[in-house]
């Protein structure tokens, strides 16, 4: 067992056949690396990684369904990732999510070898970013998220933000409520708040963020708190600070 070193189990994700072919070819002189799967879009990537639990992932960024950063956000922190893309503008974000390396297409064998060497060094130790960091990196700097991605068993659920009614903190998770369905995502509510557009989403309570468009009316509740009643009838607690924030936004709209 110690004689024959354990193979590095690898998945290659790229929507272009030819791009996957290059990675395959460059891995050929490395018998210690075994390609256990290839796929062409973000959905497949998430499912394949969930099923095969590879050690190393070659990941394109611009892909159908989910982009590379969204895939990374969903597959968590166990895997060493090497990004390969023609776009150099994502490099900074790639290092924020502790990618092993960032290959710019087209790349040559020496550059590829370097990336592989870095991956091997990384494999021994765990140096994974917190999921919050992953989420923060999944949006472009200075922009707010346009959709949320959640893993629902082996399936991936995409929630466009205009379909998100509210979010509720539940221990280490947030529950995202959209069209009557609840999805759990491992994330803190403050982190979620910071990636949402403050013109549409308000933190009305320590544990709640609401989509402003869903708020029908406010009712007093108890001595000095309120409840927000949403268009689908849901009732959410509103703290005093939340009420002030909500009022200033609603007044701004009128």
């Amino acid at each position: 067992m110690s004689e024959e070193r354990k193979k590095i189990r690898t998945v290659v994700v790229d929507d272009e056949d030819l791009a996957r072919q290059i990675v395959r070819e460059m891995l050929k002189p490395h018998p210690e690396v075994e390609i256990i799967g290839e796929c062409a879009n973000g959905f497949e990537a998430v499912r394949m990684v969930g099923e095969l639990k590879p050690d190393l992932l070659f990941l394109d960024i611009q892909m159908p369904k989910l982009d590379g950063f969204e895939v990374l956000e969903l597959i968590g922190d166990e895997i060493a990732v090497i990004f390969a893309t023609a776009y150099d503008e994502h490099a900074l974000r790639a290092f924020e999510v502790h990618a092993v390396d960032y290959l710019l297409k087209p790349f040559g064998a020496p550059r590829f070898e370097l990336a592989l060497e870095r991956a091997k060094q990384r494999l021994g130790k765990k140096m994974s970013p917190a999921p919050d960091q992953l989420l923060a990196a999944s949006r472009e700097p200075g922009k707010y998220l346009e959709r949320l991605v959640v893993k629902d068993g082996t399936r991936v659920q995409i929630i466009p933000l205009d379909k998100l009614d509210y979010a509720e903190a539940q221990d280490d998770y947030v529950a995202l409520v959209s069209q009557g369905k609840k999805y759990l995502k491992q994330q803190t509510i403050s982190n979620l708040e910071s990636s949402l557009d403050p013109a549409h989403f308000v933190r009305i309570h320590r544990s709640y963020i609401v989509n402003l468009e869903r708020v029908r009316r406010l009712e007093p509740y108890g001595k000095d708190s309120h409840v927000a009643i949403l268009s689908d009838g849901a009732r959410l607690p509103v703290s005093r600070a939340g009420l002030a924030r909500l009022k200033s936004l609603l007044e701004g709209k009128i």
Partner: protein, 354 residues
Amino acid sequence: MHPILANVRQLLLYLLAWLPLSGILLYLLISFGGVEWTRALIFIVPLAMVFAFVCLSAWYSCRATPLASSGFWRLAATHLLGAVSASLLWLLIARGLSLAMASISPFARFDQQIARELPVLFASGVLLYLLSVALHYVLMATDIAHQAEKREVEARVLARDFELKALKTQVNPHFIFNSLNSISALTSSDPAKAREMCILLADFLRKTLGLGEKAYIPLAEELELVHAFLSVEKIRFQRRLTLEEKTDPGALRVLVPPLLLQPLVENAIAHGVANLTEGGWIRLEIRKSESENVSIMIENNFDPDTPRRRGQGIGLRNVRQRLDTSYGSRARFDVRANGDRFLVALGLPAEKMA
């Protein structure tokens, strides 16, 4: 250069205007000075022509004292001084001419006859000179207005050229990098195909480089560019990309601004097939109607669930703007998304033909 002397036509017009003026001088000389009319005519015509040229000197003093920036007293002093000196010079010439004429027998004692009329001539000279001052001010004003207009037109043309140039030179670098990556992959698996793609890419790049200088190209040439672009993308996306094209041969000779369709096709790929796992299609249709219009439709399917990426819309805005600068309201540009279909429709006048 003097505005009247610079142009023969204007000089002739100016001298023509002096004919009625010399008529008035003639009348003064005949009815008040009692000079016989043939003598008066022979005397006044050359004298008036000479003074016509003397009065042109008003331009220099007008230029030195612009109406807008000179005070009333300065204007009055300058031009009265000019009028008096011009008129005195004229008297001197008149005196000389009358003396010269008097030396010939038919004009005997003509000089004495004229000497009595010198005050009248002086007054007329002052008035005529001041009239010329007014004329020169008018000329200067129209000249300034004309130049301002010309500058404005030049500035507009310059701005438009600049804008067109800025809009044109936009080959997407990602397209080049992705193509080079495909070539890199093919070099070992299919060298012949790699070479083919190299040539197609070079062909496309050479075509776009050459277009920068031109304002219009035949639609056929733009289509060649689109085909070169699509052949490269076809190798990159392989079976994922399906193309369908229908072109009315009558439209091929119509002149269009360069790089009008290529950005739209590039857009169709970036937001269509690039986001579709199962592959995407692009349909290009070009028709020339009876009413001398060309209509171009580019349609593609796309994934409605993929959020719009940064940069989407720049290509469309760019083309819309260029249609606008080239054709104004005679061009049409519509963008429609319907379900999973995206349609860009342009209409432009077939006014220029290759």
